[in-house]
């Protein structure tokens, strides 16, 4: 099921090896779906030239004050592209 724009989501806090496109500084953080970008081949397989499933890619918006408690302007935001399998569907 595709998540709707505005849904609050938490990024999974895990550390698999490989060609991962979820930056460490966002793992475990909570943000809001900014837009749905559509289906893309999962780069975690694509990078190794093995069959890659298509995953929904989202743009997720985080507040700077949430990522960095000492941020200069806490209302500033950080948007990043996050694949669906990095979104913790069971998070509150």
């Amino acid at each position: 099921m595709t998540l709707a724009v505005g849904t609050t989501v938490r990024i999974k806090d895990m550390a698999p090896l490989g060609h991962i496109r979820t930056p460490h500084y966002l793992r475990g953080k909570t943000g809001v779906i900014e837009r749905v970008l559509g289906g893309f081949k999962n780069p975690e397989q694509l990078a190794y030239m093995v069959p890659a499933p298509t995953r929904t890619l989202y743009r997720v918006r985080f507040e700077m004050g949430h990522i960095w408690p000492d941020a200069e302007a806490t209302h500033d935001t950080l948007d990043a592209e996050i694949y669906e399998h990095w979104i913790d569907q069971n998070a509150p």
Partner: protein, 213 residues
């Protein structure tokens, strides 16, 4: 001696330090590139002229392409809407061959400023802006642009009021980004071509603003 450099082991006979060049042996990947290129030509898969044509095409891309897109968006509200809705289609509509690139345009307004970075590597909308500046690829910019972006902007000469919301965009996956800078004041009578000359590379990354006329 014309100059009194202290490290005399690294001076040329003219007294200047040697500049590093291609002094070492080819790396594994350099050798691989040459071998594959020569094999492709030998087997007739590609010609040397085709390879040169592709290099020329890549070298021809410059920030002037992005500036033309920005100036059009400043003067054509319908185009601006199409650009913000689908950056790739809008760039193609203007005749730019951007290949399979997925372009997202983000707009600066009176209260929002946008900044682009790629923390994981150095993703950049090359198909539209040409080669990225060297600093864009440094670990310093890539880490500080997300950790202390306002401090980075100050070093570029951009002081954001606290009432402005700064939106940093980390191109972590398949999208590439271009900032649609705010149109400078006092430009009402300018032609599209004159407006495009005000659009700098850095203003499309977000580390700068469009120039005043």
């Amino acid at each position: 001696m014309p100059h009194d450099h202290h490290d005399h082991d690294h001076l040329s006979p003219s007294g200047h330090p040697y500049r590093q060049d291609n002094d070492g042996a080819l790396t594994y990947w350099q050798t691989m590139e040459i071998a594959i290129r020569e094999l492709m030509i030998e087997k007739g898969e590609l010609s040397a002229a085709q390879i040169q044509a592709q290099i020329d095409a890549m070298d021809e891309r410059s920030p002037a392409n992005g500036a033309a897109v920005v100036a059009r968006a400043w003067t054509d509200p319908d185009f601006r809407n199409r650009l913000l809705a689908n950056g790739s289609d809008a760039a193609r509509e203007m005749g730019f061959d951007i290949g399979p690139m997925h372009l997202v345009a983000v707009e600066n307004t009176a209260h929002i400023h946008n900044l682009i970075v790629c923390t994981l590597c150095s993703c950049y909308p090359r198909n539209l802006l040409g080669l990225p500046p060297d600093w864009y690829k440094t670990r310093e910019y890539r880490s500080r642009a997300v950790r202390e972006p306002r401090a980075v902007l100050r070093e570029f000469g951009v002081e954001l009021p606290v009432t402005t919301t700064l939106r940093v965009h980390d191109s972590t996956a398949d999208m590439r980004y271009i900032v649609l800078p705010a149109r400078p004041a006092g430009t009402d009578g300018l032609s599209v071509d004159a407006l495009a000359k005000l659009v700098t590379r850095d203003s499309m990354i977000g580390t700068g603003l469009a120039k005043a006329p």
